[in-house]
C-alpha cells in the first residue's frame, strides 16, 4: 500500500472539519450529536493511522482507539438521553431554543 500518511491525515482532517461544521451550524440537537460523532471517528481514525504507519507492533494506539470508541458510545447514549429529556421539557430539539444556561 503506497498511500502516504499525509493522505490519511488529510482525510481525517476533512472529516473532522465536516463534523465540526455540522455541529456548529445545524439547529437540530441530533445533528449536532451526529457532527460530534463524525469528529470522534475522524480522531480515532487518526490513532489507527498512526498505529499502522509507525507503531505497528505496539498495542497502545489500538487500546486508545478501543477506549475512545467506548467513550464515544457512552457519550452518545447519554447525549441522546439528554436530547429526549430536553425534548420533553421544551417540546423542541432546536439547540437555539435552549437558552437557560444564560447567566
Amino acid at each position: 500500500m503506497n498511500i502516504p500518511l499525509g493522505d490519511y491525515l488529510m482525510l481525517s482532517a476533512f472529516l473532522f472539519a465536516i463534523g465540526l461544521c455540522g455541529a456548529l451550524s445545524r439547529k437540530n440537537a441530533i445533528i449536532v450529536l451526529i457532527g460530534i460523532e463524525i469528529m470522534f471517528n475522524a480522531a480515532i481514525l487518526n490513532l489507527i493511522v498512526f498505529w499502522h504507519y509507525k507503531y505497528f507492533a505496539v498495542p497502545t494506539a489500538y487500546m486508545f482507539a478501543i477506549f475512545a470508541i467506548s467513550i464515544a458510545a457512552a457519550e452518545s447514549a447519554v447525549g441522546l438521553a439528554l436530547v429526549i429529556a430536553i425534548y420533553r421539557q421544551y417540546k423542541s430539539v432546536d439547540v437555539d431554543e435552549f437558552t437557560s444556561l444564560k447567566g
Binding site: L24, V95, D96, F98, T99, S100, K102, G103
Partner: protein, 689 residues
Amino acid sequence: MEHGEYLQHLARQQWLIPFFPLMAAAIQSLMKRPSRKASGALTIIAMGLSCIFALRAFFATIGGGGQHHEIERAIFNFTWFKFGTTSLGLGFILDPLAEGMAVMVAFVGFWIFVNATGYMADDENFTRFFCFLSLFAASMLGLVVSNNLLLLYMCWELVGLCSYLLIGFWYFKPAAAAAMKKAFITTRIGDVGFLLGIVMLYWKTGTLNLYTHDTLHPGALEQVSALALRNGWWGLSAASTIAFLLFIGAMGKSAQFPLHVWLPDAMEGPTPVSALIHAATMVAAGVFMVGRMYPLFTAEAGSWVLDFVMWVGCITAVFSATIAVAQFDIKRVLAYSTCSQLGFMVMALGAGSVVAGQFHLLTHAFFKALLFLGSGCVIIGTHHEQDMRKMGGLRKYMPITFWCYLIGMLALCGVPPFAGFFSKDEILLSTFHRNKYAWGLATFAAFLTAFYMTRQMFMVFAGKWRGGENDHGHDKHGKHDDHEHGHHGGEPHEVTWNMWLPIAVLSLFAIGLGFFGHKYGEYLGVEGAESVEGKAVVMGASLAVVALGLLLGWAVYGRKTMEHATDEDPLSAALGSLFTFLNRKWYIDELYDVTIIRFTATCGMFFRLVDKSVVDGILHAIAWTAWGISQVFRWIGDEFFINGGFDAGCESVRWEGEEFSKLENGRIQNYFRVLSLGAAILLLIYFFT
C-alpha cells in the same frame, strides 16, 4: 512442616480471618427476606470461624517464638494491580502483635455478638445491625492482619464508616444523627494527618508494604534507620515526621485529648456497638496502629514525638477521668473511662513500652467489653433506663450481672488479682522511668478511676430501686432509649442467658488475663530484661491510690445510698460548681462551638468579604477598562459623544455590557463556536511558529 514454613503457610491464610465476617456482612446485605435467626447465627458463626483461625495463628506464633526473643514474623505480599510500571501491593502479616490483637478482636467480638442478639432482640432492623456489626469486625480484623499501609488505611476508613453507621443506627433520633456525624468528622480530622503520613511515607520510601523480608525492595518499616537520617518537617527527621502525622490519625481514632469529643457521644449507638467500639475495634485501631508503626517512632533518638505522645496520653487520662466522676449516664461514665484508659495506653506507648500499651489494650478490651455489656444488661433489665440516679439496688434483681460487673469494675480499678492491675502497673512503671510528673498525673487518674467506678457501683447496684418514681419532668439527660418501650418503672429483671453468658465468660478473662503480662512481653519479644528498679514504689503507690479511691467512693456513696432519683449527688453538694463544670465535660464542646465553629464561620465571612472587595474589584476594573477603551474609540470615531459627557459615558458602559452579554446567551452552539475559534487560533499559532 518446619516451623518457618508453617508460619508462611499460615500467613498465606491470614486473609481468612477477616474474610468470614466480611462474607457474613455481604450475605446479610443481600438477603431478600431478613430473618433474625439466620442473620444472628450467620454473624456469630462467621465470627467464631474467624476466632478459630486467629487462635490457630496465635498458637503458631507462640509455639516457635520466645527462645531468643526474636520476633517470628511471616508475611505474604502480593500485587494488587499494575498501572503502567507502578504497581500497588497488598499484604498480610503474621506476627505476635497482629495475632494477639486478632485473637482479642475475634474473641471479644464473638461474645459481644452473642450479647447483641439479646440486646437487639426487639429491634426492627436486626439484620441491618448484624450486617454492620459483621462489617465492623471484618474491617477491624483486616486492619490487624494487614502488612500494607494502603490496606490498613482502607480498613481504617471502613472501621470509621462502620462506626458512623452503627453510632447512628437509630438515625431517627436527632442525638444519634448528630453523634454519628460528629464521630465521622472528628476522626476524619485525624485521618487527614494519617493520610498525609501515608503519602509522606510513600514519598520517602517508595513503598507502602511494611515488611517485605527482601533486601532489594525493603518494606517501609525495614527502612526506618535510613528514614531517621533524612530530613522531614518541623526540624524532625523524616521518620519522626511520619510518625507524628500517623499519630494524629491515631489521636482521632483512639479519642485522644483534643479529638476525644466524639467518643462519649458515640454512646447514642446501641450498647453492643459501644462495647465493640470501646473494647475491640474502633479505638483499639489507633493504639494498635501506633504499635504497628512503632519502629518509626523510635527511629530517631531524642525527638519530641514520643514525649508528645506520652503527654497527650497523660492529659487524656487525667482529663477524662475527672469528667467521668461527674456523669450520671451509666454508659457515659464508661465512655469517659475508656477515654482515660486509652490515655493510659497512649502514654505507655509514648513512654517507650509497646508491651505495656498493647497489653493494657488487650486486658482493657476484655473488661471494658464486660462492663459495657454489663451496662447493656442493666439497661435492658431496667427497661431502657440509662440514668444511674434512677437505678439502685439492682444487686437483688440481677445477681449474675452484678457479680460480673463487680469483677469488671475491680479489674478496671486495678485491684490486685484482676487483669487491670497488672497492665496498669506496667504502664505506670514505664512512665515512672520516663517522666515522674507524668507518672504522678497518671497515678492521680488511677485514683479517680477507682473513685468513679465505686461511685457507679454504689449508684447502680446498692441501695434501693429508685426507678419506680416516675418523674419525667426532672431531667431528660440519658433517656435516649425510651422510644423503645413505654413501660418505664417496671421492676428490673435478670436478663436472658444469651446476654449474661458473654459477660460471665469475659469476667473469667478479666480475672485471669493479668497473670500473662510477663509472658506477653516475651511473646511480643520487644522488651528486654524487666526493670525492677522503682517497681516497689510504683506498685505501692498505685495500690494505695486504688484503695484510697475505693474507700472514698464508699465514703461518699456507699455509706448512705441515694434515696430518691431527684436527690442531689453527694459529690455535687461537696464540690458545687466544680461538679457542674465536670458534668459539662469541661465545656469542651462549648469551647469548640465558640472557637472552631465560630472561626470557620468567620472565615466564611472573611472570604465573602474578599469576594466582594477583591474579586468584584477586579471585575469592576475590567469594566472600567472596557469603558475607557470604548471612550478612546469614541474619541477617534466621533467627537460628539465626548460632548455628551457623563451620560454618554454611562450609556457606553451599558452598551459594552450588552455587547459582551450577547456572547453569554446560553446557546451551547455559541460556546462551541467560540471554543473552536480558539482552537483555530491555536492552530494558526502552531502554523506560523
